[in-house]
């Protein structure tokens, strides 16, 4: 299949709009294409991309340095037909002003505010001027991701309370507000939800995230590739394999390091194990949120067994730090690999038994069916990813549409449902477990022998790479740029939660307040992954 057969037409459309594409490169961020444009044309790029039918993928800034005229870089990634296109522009640090993409792509809203908060790039015509990631701890002129800002920051004596954030207000008879969080009952991450409700019906939900901002992007700078992989594995603890893989893929592509086949297969095994572990845990948790505790305990038990399998495989229950630049850290014990086939059969048999019980329970179906609907149009408009998108009729899965090794050697089935409700999201995840089990069987059968790790090739100053991995939540994008000594100059990782959190705001509208937890769990965005 010829990739990028659409790019010439896309460029022609840019030409029609009098957008000057400065440079293009198919190699810099391969397999993605990179083009550069003038800052004046930035807004129209979005218009062309939207009219062309591109999906908005990610936006991130970078400090380009420069002695005389220091500049900031801004890049946006689009996807069309499984191909990724990165558009880059540079703005002077003194006057970093760009047109916003939010009017064309709703998904660009929060990433642009993130870039504005941390780099000081001003997005004109942005519909929402409020801060996003930068809570009250930073002053107005502080832009932490600029190179002249110390990594240690300027810690204030006491972080001022974030109480003046102007939430959307609703007026009218009987309208009341419910503030929930950021600290919740139960062991979950912090995030604030502001509901406007009439009686038990939710009129509007507004999310306020950023409470677990850890400065991942800043503390990545200056790290060695190995240290970056460790850091990436901690962006979101439940997605440690996929994030580490995405970061390593970016590093390997930047340095043009070939990864041994055995390592790729083992990485894929780990990624599928991670997917299954999370799906198992979440299906149980969704049932528990509607008071069906039986399923919760059964699925927790299966997940626990599964995590113990992880422990046997690589010495860590969550498979943390197994994926390293150039391959994987340790070859698994042959007995652990041999035991896995039986483990897969056992899980499949147990799941069949449990599914029969779940499907035979009308009270459960009554709660899940029709709850929290996300229409295909809204899902497309918001650029939703992963099982949230696939339950609403969007069939995007990197493993199928833009397969990376080892998925390029086989066909990955993508289960898609149309209903878009909580039940559909549960069903899609059930199907994904089945597909993952089948994939794992193939990987186990075809696992090549040989090396498990190839040292990274030496870096050239400024080389960069783009990692794209289908994590269990959906597409993960990681961008890495290296110094000449091989340390990290810039690292950005876009967790799929960036695009799925806004979907939750739409999903719960006109649902009842007590159904919010189950809607939230059915989306299960990562707070840590989006706060960075």
């Amino acid at each position: 299949m010829s990739r990028f057969d659409w790019l010439s037409e896309w460029l022609a459309r840019c030409e029609d709009e009098h957008i000057l594409i400065r440079r293009g490169s198919a190699r810099t961020l391969a397999p993605a294409h990179l083009v550069e444009c003038d800052p004046e044309d930035w807004g129209r790029i979005a218009a062309v991309a939207r009219d062309f039918g591109c999906r908005w993928v990610a936006l991130w800034g970078s400090d380009e340095g420069g002695e005389e005229t220091p500049a900031l870089g801004v890049q946006v990634a689009f996807e069309y037909g499984g191909d990724h296109l990165v558009v880059r522009t540079r703005v002077p640090r003194a006057t970093p002003v760009l047109s916003s993409h939010s009017p064309w792509f709703a998904a660009a809203d929060r990433p642009e505010r993130h870039c504005q908060d941390l780099f000081g790039v001003v997005f004109l015509d942005h519909p929402d001027a409020r801060r996003w990631t930068r809570h009250g701890a930073w002053g107005d002129g502080d832009y932490p991701l600029r190179k002249d800002f110390a990594a240690a920051g300027q810690p204030p004596a006491e972080t001022p309370p974030d109480q003046d954030y102007p939430f959307l207000a609703a007026r009218g008879e009987g309208v009341y507000e419910i503030p929930v969080g950021p600290v919740h009952a139960g062991i979950i991450e912090p995030g604030h939800f502001r509901f406007q409700a009439v009686g038990e019906t939710i009129l509007n939900l507004e999310e306020r995230l950023g409470y677990v901002h850890k400065g991942i992007e800043k503390i990545a700078e200056g790290r060695t590739p190995e240290a970056l992989a460790r850091l990436a594995g901690r962006i979101s603890g439940d997605t440690t394999v996929a994030h580490a893989w995405a970061a390593c893929m970016a590093l390997e592509r930047a340095t043009r390091t070939p990864v041994p086949g055995r390592a790729l297969f083992l990485r894929a095994l780990a990624a599928e194990r991670e997917r299954i572990a999370n799906h198992l845990g979440d299906i149980g948790a969704i049932c528990n949120d509607v008071g069906f505790a039986f399923a919760q305990y059964q699925f927790s038990r299966l997940r626990e067994d599964w995590l113990r399998g992880n422990q046997r495989l690589c010495g860590h229950r969550l498979l943390m730090d197994w994926v390293v630049p150039g391959g994987i850290a340790r070859d698994p014990d042959p007995s652990a690999l041999a035991a896995m086939a039986a483990e897969l059969d056992r899980l499949e048999a147990e799941l069949a038994e449990l599914y029969a019980i779940l499907d035979d329970n009308p009270s459960l179906e009554d709660r899940l069916s029709g709850t929290g609907r996300l229409t295909e149009a809204t899902a497309r408009q918001l650029g939703t990813l992963g099982y949230v998108a696939r339950a609403s009729g969007l069939a995007f899965d990197l493993r199928a549409q833009a397969p990376y090794p080892p998925y390029d050697t086989l066909e990955v089935e993508v289960p898609v449902l149309e209903q878009g409700d909580v039940l559909a999201r549960v069903r899609v995840r059930r199907e994904e477990i089945r597909v993952s089990l089948a994939l794992m069987r193939r990987f186990l059968a075809e696992l090549p022998a040989g090396e498990i790790r190839q040292p990274l090739a030496p870096a050239v100053a400024g080389v960069e790479g783009l990692g794209l991995v289908e994590g269990w939540r959906g597409e993960i994008l990681a961008h890495v740029r290296l110094h000449a000594d091989g340390t990290i100059d810039r690292f950005f990782a876009r967790d799929p939660s960036w695009l799925n959190w806004p979907a939750l705001e739409r999903i719960v509208r006109n649902n009842i307040v007590p159904d919010f937890p189950v809607c939230n769990k059915s989306v299960n965005g990562s707070y840590s992954g989006q706060d960075l």
Partner: protein, 315 residues
């Protein structure tokens, strides 16, 4: 006479002392049904002791109502526990109040609990109060209707007298009782905050009813409210057991008979405590807006009970 009062006192004390055990039993069965390791049966006692020993934390905005409510709720529940015949009938306390008074006492406790939920001004408390009152306004008529069916058969609104009448008339299959029993079971589930109406085990504030009202309580206040909830569960259990299956309740007054009566009601509650967790395990919680339909069904069943009494049994 003095002996009867002592027996009544003993019956009430046994009642409130054993209420946590029933809660522990229900939990024990539920854990086993869900393939979990169950806490010991006496875990609720440990929890109560822990809560009683803990410091009370009260919001700055709390009014005196907030402090008084745990005592009001506990004492009103205690009153009901003292009046209903659990192990023995025709005790002097049973003349203190009839069924309508009992329903009123429970409503009094709920009224103050709902006030306390709104007192602090948190969103969850107000939400819980609003839901609790919604549920109560539909549950109480259904409950009264079910109990009236019974009292019309017995010709008295006094529980003790009604049970006496049922015992005296022997085992008769009455369609009205079958309806009333079904109605009362549905009401009892709603009133004690069990699945599918409310989930006592949840940590999700947005889905709570009873728990949302008492989120701000701590220490001995919380302990009293929890204990009152356990007593309330037992009250409904005793009502169901003794109204519809009164056989075995002690009719003669002596310490020995009190023991026998207590053992019998204990056995009935053990059996009831088996049914409740089974239902809770096989069912998910229903949507909140289904609760009115559910309680309408309870009311309808109770009404059918009364109609079938009038049409088939009266006269």
């Amino acid at each position: 006479m003095m002996r009867d009062w002592l027996l009544a006192l003993a019956q009430a004390l046994i009642f409130i002392a054993l209420a946590p055990l029933l809660a522990g039993w229900v939990k024990w069965v539920k854990c086993h049904l869900q393939n979990r390791v169950a806490p010991p049966l006496w875990q609720p006692y440990r929890d109560l002791r822990k809560l009683m020993a803990k410091e009370v934390v009260i919001a700055e905005q709390a009014s005196p109502i907030f402090r008084a409510v745990p005592y009001i709720v506990f004492s009103s529940t205690l009153m009901v526990a003292a009046v209903i015949p659990s192990a023995m009938i025709n005790l002097p306390t049973s003349r203190v109040g009839d069924v309508i008074v009992l329903v009123g006492l429970l409503a009094l406790g709920r009224f103050f609990l709902a006030l306390a939920g709104m007192d602090i001004g948190t969103a969850f408390g107000g939400m819980g109060s609003s839901r609790e009152v919604t549920v109560a306004s539909l549950a109480e008529p259904a409950m009264l209707m079910a109990i009236f069916t019974l009292t019309m058969t017995a010709g008295s609104t006094n529980l003790s007298a009604a049970i006496d009448h049922i015992l005296a008339s022997g085992f008769v299959l009455r369609p009205s009782f079958a309806f009333a029993l079904s109605g009362l079971v549905l009401v009892a589930i709603a009133e004690t905050g069990r699945i599918p109406v409310d989930n006592p085990a949840t940590h999700l504030e947005l889905t709570m009813i009873h728990e949302a009202m008492i989120l701000e309580y701590s220490g001995r206040h919380l302990g009293l409210i929890e204990w009152a909830a356990q007593i309330k569960l037992m009250i409904y259990g005793v009502l169901l057991a003794n109204i519809f299956f009164p056989w075995g309740i002690a009719t003669r007054h002596s310490a020995g008979w009190l023991l026998v009566g207590s053992l019998v009601i204990g056995l009935k509650l053990v059996l009831l405590g088996l049914c409740l967790p089974v239902a809770e395990t096989v069912m998910a919680k229903m949507r909140l807006f289904r609760v009115p339909q559910y309680l309408s069904l309870a009311f309808l069943l109770s009404l059918l009970g009364m109609l079938s009494h009038i049409i088939l049994e009266a006269g």
